[in-house]
């Protein structure tokens, strides 16, 4: 078979990230401790250029779907939007992380290299058009994440959570592979499109397919952190250094979303009736457990971990609808959620000082007195997470609910909103601590300018995105043909 290098052009962003990650890995060896900032700049520039590369080939609403590498890799509009969102999120993550990494004496090149490899893994997952490339992307992301969690190797807590993450993650990967092998056995193909055609011929009641599907759901649910596959999430969020938690909390949700869409809609769309039931089960449990257990937390990182679980419940609601509107809603939700999550972890970093991690709720006491501006930023983020209008989190919930009501699962929508009222309580409690309580310390907030600036943008975005919601929602819709 003739090989033309030009056919790899759609892969350019991935190739670029790969090259840069390797380059930074090597360059870091020759950069002294004092000039580590250069590594940070290189990582940021990588994000800028990869964004340009992706955008140059982004075709807007009429973008054609391009397959490369013998149909294992696909460039389409959904993938491009998700990737662009990931670049933006990663840039925010790097800016937030730098400050905290310095405090922890962890300001090392490995963080950036591993994060970029993790990002590459997400990009491959997003663009995967075959089970093989999907698994490769997933493992690249997972291995980078395990290593990142263990980055603070002298901390017993971090090592413990890395171990838990690794063991549970390996089991989930095993389940996923097992499921994939069953699907392969039943359909004789790894290619998602060919699988979908084979499924059509086999019919949705094929027993091997159903088994395979169940294991795939386990793998996806683990990646999302949906109940009952959520056990790792609070421990890892809590145990990992905040810059790593930040990385884990934001962008990977988008990759998990893409993975769910490619597997369930593209490959197994004809089995909708089966996976819908499973996802309803996961969503119902996630919404309840996430929102209720979060109330009992005093550690903000753990609280946000449970909050993640509840938001995953909402994302699953959109996916289980099985309609283009539902997928678009869920995609918008995932993007908005990742932005909110990045901001809240950024606030923890902002309030952290040398040796003191502001991870307990009490650290936010009286923030309004210490800094009215950042108290407002945090309030915007929390209100948006709670789904209070006019913040953009409300519009994400609105779309998902609309998709669920549209498929006549109104009871599920009612259940979801009741759970989100319960959830509103613990977000409000943080607002209460910031505004109604007296601070424990009068220490002014000391943080570099770039951290403050990006955090401000992140907070204000909750409000501004409300006004700009139209085009973003339209872009998400266009990715699914509406």
């Amino acid at each position: 078979m003739e090989f033309d290098i030009l056919t790899l052009k759609p892969l350019l962003p991935e190739l670029f990230v790969l090259t840069m990650a390797c380059l930074i890995l090597v360059a870091d060896l020759y950069i002294s401790e004092a000039r580590r900032g250069i590594v940070h700049m290189m990582a940021m520039l990588t994000l800028v250029f990869v964004a340009i590369l992706t955008m140059r080939s982004y075709g807007g609403a009429e973008q054609a779907t391009v397959m490369v590498m013998n149909g294992t890799f696909v460039r389409d509009q959904m993938g491009d939007i998700l990737k662009l969102a990931i670049y933006v999120l990663m840039a925010a993550v790097f800016v937030y992380a730098k400050h905290d990494l310095r405090h922890r004496k962890l300001f090392v090149g490995e963080y950036y290299v591993l994060a970029l490899f993790g990002m590459l893994g997400m990009m491959v997952m997003i663009s995967a058009a075959s089970l093989l490339s999907m698994y490769l992307g997933l493992e690249l992301l997972a291995l980078s994440s395990y290593a990142l969690v263990a980055l603070e190797r002298d901390s017993a807590r971090a090592s413990e959570s890395a171990m838990k993450y690794f063991v549970l993650g390996a089991m989930a990967s095993g389940a996923l592979l097992y499921g994939m092998s069953m699907i392969y056995g039943a359909t004789g193909s790894l290619d998602l499109l060919e699988i979908s055609m084979a499924v059509r011929d086999l019919g949705s009641d094929d027993i091997v397919l159903a088994f395979g599907l169940a294991f795939l759901v386990v793998g996806v649910a683990f990646k999302f952190g949906a109940v009952p596959f959520h056990m790792w999430l609070p421990d890892v969020y809590h145990g990992a250094p905040t810059p790593v938690t930040l990385f884990l909390a934001a962008a990977p949700k988008l990759a998990a979303f893409a993975m769910a869409i490619r597997l369930f809609d593209l490959a197994l769309g004809d089995m909708h009736i089966h996976w819908q039931g499973m996802l309803v089960f996961l969503a119902v449990l996630s919404l309840a457990l996430g929102n209720i257990v979060a109330i009992a937390q005093t550690n903000l990182k753990r609280m946000l971990a449970y909050s993640t679980i509840s938001h995953v419940g909402f994302m699953l609601l959109g996916i289980l609808a099985g309609t283009p509107a539902g997928y678009a809603a869920s995609m918008f939700y995932a993007i908005i959620y990742a932005i909110m999550a990045a901001g809240t972890f950024g606030m923890i970093i902002l309030l952290s000082r040398q040796g003191v991690e502001a991870e307990n709720l009490d650290h936010f006491k009286g923030l309004n007195k210490r800094s009215p501006w950042f108290a407002a930023v945090m309030m915007f983020l929390l209100a948006s997470l709670a789904g209070v209008p006019p913040f953009v989190g409300f519009f994400a919930k609105l779309q998902v609910l609309s998709a669920v009501v549209d498929i006549n699962l109104t009871w599920l929508a009612v259940y979801a909103v009741i759970m989100s009222v319960i959830g509103a309580f613990y977000y409000l409690r943080v607002i209460k601590l910031m505004y109604l309580d007296a601070p424990d310390t009068d220490e002014p907030i000391n943080a570099p300018f770039d951290l403050k600036a990006v955090l401000t943008v992140n907070g204000l975005a909750q409000l501004l995105l409300t006004f700009l919601a139209g085009p973003i929602i339209a872009a998400c819709g266009a990715a699914f043909g509406i």
């Binding site: 209008p389 006019p390 519009f395 609105l398 609910l401 909103v417 309580f425 109604l436 339209a474």
Partner: protein, 501 residues
């Protein structure tokens, strides 16, 4: 109109609030004057609103419509009719008084206090002006956050409990409203409230929607048995917060019934009207009796508010039985009575809370038992307080009489027992109000604290007398208000009669 008047009314206070916030905590004087200026500008914007409003038609006026979220057909869609205009004017008027009332009392975080009220004002006007259901919902919910902070930051000792209860109660109510609106959108393909008015719906769907709306608005009004957040919130809120809560936020519930429940699900409302009528009558009588037992003035007024709001919901929902057993005119009278009651209650409850605020600023107590013989040391204050109490009890010549009388007269045509039960309020209301007046204002000076009281200053006199004028004017000559809403109420009645089956 060649300028967006309604947008100005909404965003002048919001932007003004942000400017006040920017004045910072180091310059409280500047923040106060800026806040007053902004609230006066907003009030002044009501003049062109009233001048250019054509009360001969039920059409939506000052309409603005801009595409917002195309995928869901959500518009930035504003417009007002005769039902919304009086409430907008009431909001702007009350906000000025609230700013003036907080002038000296608020000494901590001054700019945040005034900014919260101004932003709240803009959002409340937005609720009354919104014609897109999602826009309505956004304003409706966004109000909660400033109010949460107002009660929580400047409230009384038990403020955290009260403000969380307030937020979660109302948030809980409104999410059902949201599901109802989404359902309507999926049925009709539009979030425009006017399109929803025209959308035909089967009866069972209407009944489900009726309950979704009922939960949302009943919490806001509040109706028995979901009223328990109100006494807590009122007692703990600072005076300004209580005033806004009683004078305007409760009206949003009543407005919601008139804008959503009656025209969108008329047949569902007709089938289920007994629920609302029953709850309204319970509120009027039972909550009135509860008010009688209160030892805390603010709690007493809070319960009295719930009881008076019972007239609003009664007036709105007995319209079906009036139409069945009586005349069109009576139905119109009942609906207009409900509207007049809303505006009148806005003035009176606001005034009552301000009176309690005047006393509280001096004695730092809201307990009836701590007072006695205030008239001896504060004669001017006593005059105002007695006037407002009389209005609260429904004395003819004051605005409190007009609305209640209209509703009672109309209800006679629906069912004698409705009228009889509702009219009990004239006795119970007089009992709890006048008994409080007797114990607080009249009699001998009971203790040295009361003996040391100073009468109201010029600032307080301005606030109370402007409210007194409003209460008397509306009581003696309510025609301008009724004319303003007449065509819109008639149109609403048409929609109700037409049905949607």
């Amino acid at each position: 109109m060649d300028y967006p008047l309604l947008s100005l009314l909404i965003f002048a206070p919001i932007v003004g609030g942000i400017v006040v916030l920017a004045a910072g905590e180091s310059r409280p004087g500047l923040a106060r004057w800026l806040a007053l200026l902004v609230s006066l500008i907003t009030m002044a914007l009501c003049i062109p609103l009233l001048q250019n409003f054509d009360s001969s038609t039920a059409q939506m006026q000052f309409v603005e419509r801009v595409m917002w979220i195309e995928t869901f057909d959500i518009h930035y869609f504003l417009g007002v009719d005769g039902i919304a205009v009086p409430l907008i004017v009431l909001t702007a008027f009350t906000s000025v008084l609230v700013v003036v009332a907080g002038w000296e009392v608020i000494q901590t975080r001054v700019s945040q206090y005034f900014a919260a009220f101004l932003i709240l004002e803009g959002l409340m006007i937005g609720v009354f002006a919104a014609l897109d259901a999602i826009l309505f919902y956004v304003f409706f919910e966004a109000m909660l956050l400033p109010m949460f902070l107002i009660i929580g930051m400047w409230g009384g000792p038990n403020r955290v409990y009260a403000t969380l209860k307030f937020f979660l109660y109302t948030f809980f109510g409104s999410v059902f409203l949201l599901i109802g609106l989404i359902y309507l959108y999926l049925e009709g393909g539009s979030f425009s409230i006017l399109d929803m008015h025209r959308l035909p719906l089967p009866l069972d769907a209407q009944i489900w929607l009726f309950f979704a709306f009922l939960i949302g608005f009943a919490v806001k009004v509040p109706m028995f048995p979901v009223h328990t957040w109100l006494p807590d919130a009122h007692v703990e809120a600072p005076t300004g917060g209580s005033v806004v809560l009683a004078a305007i936020m409760l009206k949003i519930g009543g407005y919601g019934f008139l804008r959503f429940s009656l025209p969108i699900v008329p047949d569902g409302s007709q089938a289920m009207d007994w629920v609302v009528i029953l709850l309204s009558l319970i509120a009027i009588v039972y909550i009135g009796l509860v008010a009688l037992a209160q030892a805390d003035m603010k709690k007493l007024i809070a319960y009295s508010s719930i009881s008076h709001m019972g007239f609003v919901t009664l007036g709105a929902f007995m319209v079906f039985q009036v139409l069945e057993n009586g005349t069109m005119e009576a139905a119109q009278l009942g609906l207009e009575g409900a509207m007049v009651q809303m505006i009148s209650h806005g003035f009176i409850s606001g005034a009552m809370f301000l009176c309690v605020g005047v006393l509280y600023d001096r004695m730092h107590s809201r307990m009836i038992g701590d007072y006695g013989g205030v008239a001896n040391t504060m004669p001017w204050f006593a005059a105002f307080a007695v006037l407002f109490s009389m209005a609260n009890a429904g004395l003819p010549g004051t605005s409190g009489f007009v609305g209640e009388f209209m509703v009672i007269v109309a209800s006679l045509q629906a069912n004698f027992w409705f009228a009889f039960t509702a009219a009990l309020t004239l006795i119970i209301g007089a009992a709890y109000t006048l008994w409080m007046v007797k114990r607080v204002i009249f009699g001998d000076v009971t203790n040295t604290n009361v003996a040391r009281l100073k009468d109201i200053n010029a600032r307080e006199a301005v606030i109370l007398s402007s409210l007194a004028i409003a209460v008397l004017a509306l009581g003696v000559y309510p025609d301008p208000l009724i004319d303003l809403m007449h065509a819109s109420v008639a149109h609403l009645l048409e929609q109700i009669q037409l049905g949607k089956l």
